[in-house]
Assembly symmetry: C2
Homo-oligomer: 570 residues x 2
């Protein structure tokens, strides 16, 4: 029970001090989450209230099922962008079909996450390598920033990738609305100033680091309040400035999205990608924060927790959610002690939904766009390309390809291209493993590469060391390597495969070894193995390879050398 309901682990020991800490953190996160939830609803192409709804029940669901003490779930930038990209291909923005598809997407994602969690499939997220994620997140940041430019400029634009967006913006360059741009650009400047300048200034004034951090993170809410007040005061909306308008007050009603086979066919793959990306982001944050306090999270239970969040979001009219980076850090820094902080935040947002919606009537869309743009700029890390490339060409290539594919073809195909490419590059690398013909270091029991060291060899012996597990992708290499050696070393009578770094031998490699053994035998050459690991020997015993093996298995290469070198005629 405790495994599937982590709340049972912390609720019985809940203390007064925890309550105080959680309440304080909840107030701070609520203030941060109000503009974020509105902004990410805008980014996802949905009405503002969908963002608020996605920030109530999901937080309560996570408090029940999540294993991180400090993760703050809700709408996040990248998942909102992916939602807009997917749903925009199914229905027109603003239509009932659009809202229904977004809600259904959250439901499918939630059910997928839940199923993966119950099946303990957390490992699937591993197939997203860091370079692929890094390239994808940077590209998403750029696409999001570009998509918000239209609100900042007060024009209409659309597109699913950077190219289409920029083209569309360029075509509407003559429609730029001055007041909108002034307010938006002013907000961007103010936000950058707060982010870059306020914290150092506060620190110089003797303010503690964590407080300075929190105040600097309040930039968006200050901007939103200021700009809304200004708009209301000067009636800027009558001069063409687009504002948020009426947001229905009241708690969300229970909704069941309309389901059809056609919709399911269109949504299952995007839902899988959104779930995986969301899970990877969320688990990384949760793990970072848990490690700082020597706590633990359980990735498989996190799948269940995030699944419950998305189902809750869907049933209350919200869209896909996950754990957000900046919000969780604020929650952690504000001292949240248990997931109850999240539940209190949900109460805060619920109160805002009940009573505060009239106050945000005059919130200009360009100011919301400004908060999004400044937030996502921190996602873009182009320096990672050079850093990764310097460490490994393969990884650098995977990063660059994912970045470009995402920018040029869109978010869904970008991720798929990145994943396929990084798998192919990995297989390519392991298909030509490091290997060496080794000889004996004179008067020792050590064996080293004949090309790098002055070592003792024997024309009738060949000792080949392979530094990789043997599996289907490198069996051909192994055969080629050995047959080439056979053709070169005409006096060969014993071939010793030195296996200290062979971590596994799969069925393909086993068949290759059997074929090699038979062919060497045909040519009068014995095949021996040395330094075979325990688990590998155990597996070999389950086949009849050891009965067919023409030679022997030696514990050490030196024993093989002694037995075979001495037994040969001079």
């Amino acid at each position: 029970m405790q495994r599937y309901f982590p709340i049972l682990q912390w609720l019985p020991g809940y203390k007064c001090a925890d309550l105080a800490a959680d309440l304080l953190a909840a107030v701070i996160v609520t203030i941060m989450l109000i503009p974020q939830s509105l902004a990410y609803a805008l980014l996802a192409g949905l009405p503002a209230e969908a963002g608020l709804y996605a920030s109530i029940l999901p937080l309560i669901a996570y408090a029940l099922f999540g294993t991180s003490r400090t993760l703050a779930v809700g709408p996040v930038a990248v998942v909102s962008l992916m939602t807009a990209a997917v749903v925009g291909q199914i229905a027109l923005q603003g239509s009932i079909g659009y809202l229904n598809a977004a809600i259904l997407l959250a439901l499918i994602s939630g059910l997928m996450l839940l199923t993966m969690g119950l099946l303990r499939l957390g490992f699937v997220a591993n197939f997203l390598s860091h370079p692929v994620i890094s390239g994808f997140i940077s590209a998403s940041g750029l696409i999001i920033a570009a998509s918000q430019l239209q609100h900042l400029l007060g024009v209409e634009a659309s597109g699913h990738n950077l190219w289409e967006l920029l083209q569309s913006l360029w075509q509407s360059r003559h429609d730029i609305h001055t007041i909108t741009l002034a307010l938006g650009a002013g907000s961007v400047l103010f936000l950058l100033l707060v982010r870059r300048g306020l914290k150092p200034a506060l620190l110089r004034l003797g303010c503690p680091v964590s407080l300075a951090d929190l105040i600097a993170k309040a930039g968006p809410i200050i901007t939103v309040i200021g700009a809304t007040a200004l708009t209301a005061w000067l009636n800027l909306d009558t001069q063409g400035l687009r504002i948020l308008g009426a947001v229905p007050a009241g708690l969300p009603a229970l909704t069941i999205p309309h389901v059809s086979l056609a919709l399911l066919e269109q949504l299952w793959l995007p839902a899988l990608l959104i779930s995986t990306i969301g899970f990877v982001e969320s688990v990384s944050v949760a793990q970072t924060l848990a490690a700082k306090r020597r706590q633990r999270i359980d990735p498989d239970q996190e799948l269940i927790g995030l699944g419950a969040c998305n189902i809750a979001s869907s049933l209350s009219g919200g869209f896909p959610v996950t754990g957000g980076f900046s919000r969780s850090v604020v929650n952690f820094d504000a001292g949240a002690a248990t997931p109850a902080a999240g539940a209190f935040t949900a109460v805060g947002i619920a109160l805002a939904t009940l009573f505060l919606t009239p106050l945000i009537y005059f919130l200009p869309l360009s100011v919301l766009a400004a908060t999004i743009m400044v937030a996502v700029l921190s996602l873009v890390d182009l320096g990672a390309i050079a850093r990764t490339w310097r460490y490994s060409r393969h990884d650098g290539l995977a990063l660059l390809a994912t970045l470009l594919a995402t920018l040029l073809t869109g978010v869904t195909s970008g991720v798929i291209i990145g994943v396929v490419l990084s798998l192919l590059l990995y297989l390519h690398r392991t298909s030509r493993p490091h290997s060496a013909i080794v000889g004996r270091v004179p008067d020792s029991e050590h064996f080293r590469n004949v090309q790098r060291h002055a070592v003792e060899t024997d024309p009738a012996l060949c000792i080949l060391r392979i530094d990789e597990g043997l599996y289907f992708a490198n069996t051909r290499f192994l055969e080629d390597r050995i047959y080439a050696q056979m053709a070169t070393q005409k006096t060969l009578r014993h071939l010793i495969l030195m296996c200290p770094a062979v971590n596994h031998i799969d069925a393909s490699a086993l068949e290759a070894l059997e074929a090699i053994n038979a062919r060497l035998q045909d040519a009068g050459i014995e095949l021996h193995l040395s330094e075979v690991k325990g688990p590998v020997t155990d597996a070999l015993r389950n086949s009849d390879f050891l009965q067919h093996l023409s030679g022997r298995i030696f514990l050490s290469t030196y024993q093989a050398w002694k037995a075979l070198h001495d037994s040969l005629p001079d």
Copy 2:
């Protein structure tokens, strides 16, 4: 030059003895190839002459560009089946479009193989693991046998997978033609008798093994001659027995297939699969035979050779070809010394095309079907399922899934499902690598698993050994493992990662190590590495990880133990 034209390696040293050996082998292979080429044309749904055309120019092209001395190229069962499956979805069997698509398929396959060879992409074939190939070949054998049942029974049936075929056969069960079935079933019995009974009988009579083998392999040609003579003598064709009929005499004319964008879109993926499957089969045979005589083949040049064969086949009105298993073994056993044997076989088939076509007018289709059925039964190896399963669950699952997917969904999707599944299973396995917390074997420099041995440990030290390269699929495992240890071992102050089996660290794993290092540091724990391999250390030096590392890199784990164990307060 010699690399791209391997003929230059053997032609200058060509001797009289070689000529005699090659001529003898060519005569024997020609006799075997005539019924095979007709039968596989039938299997591919093409007119009989296409099979003959596919056995002339391709053999000459291989003699020029191939690196195996004994490989016999031409139509083979599995590739013919795949051709029928692909082309049958594009045009009606018997139409001009059908023939054109088959010829174009050979051209595209040829160009793909040639390009892959020039780019040295032979490694791509490695992604077909043995279990996938084994499952695919067995399933293909079963589908081929089922597809020939209609000719054997004298009924009409069609379908792209086993299920459709059997359903279609069942529906036409009342149309079975008695004479057709009698002749077909008689041929099957005779062929099985020759294959199983003739060789042992000849051996008992003192016949040399290789001669007995050759005579046993002559079964199909004897059956074909006998049945054709019987049909002509009794005029069985007038009683409803379907016969081959008129095959146009004369050498093939140069043909250029009609190309359209729509055709290219439909054919590129099947062409890639056919090329890869054909290449894998062919290279395996060539390598087996070359090793027996201590010769070598060059896989990248084989791609060029097989590419040239398919282009030659297409330009002379043939369909996709590759190196065949049984024919190559016969060629080898008959003593073929050089690829000239293949060129002489081409002359033999050309003569047959010029002069023998009137003689095969009365060849019954049910007898051709019988030769195919008996030939493909040797491809079906259901015992491999149990054998592979016993050695490894993962590999057994991949085999079974490919077998079932091929049987139930068809050849193209069967291969794709198999490849994707074996990649996923490989990643799943390496995503949870073998690892152990180790301790010091008392009074020694050795370290062993604490769960298996009575070893010395230290509450402030943890030595973790990972037996796998660190890459994106197992970084999460590494983090989980270490954070779990941190949470359990509250007195931990030094974590030593023991890396003797870590063959590489990719960019994802590097980032994970950096994160681990930072988090351990936050918790006051130092991270050390021991026994890091040379190439891995070199790669780490290209990043700034070593500057950030809170601990040290030790050459041996014992040095780490001495330095850290002794430095700790008691």
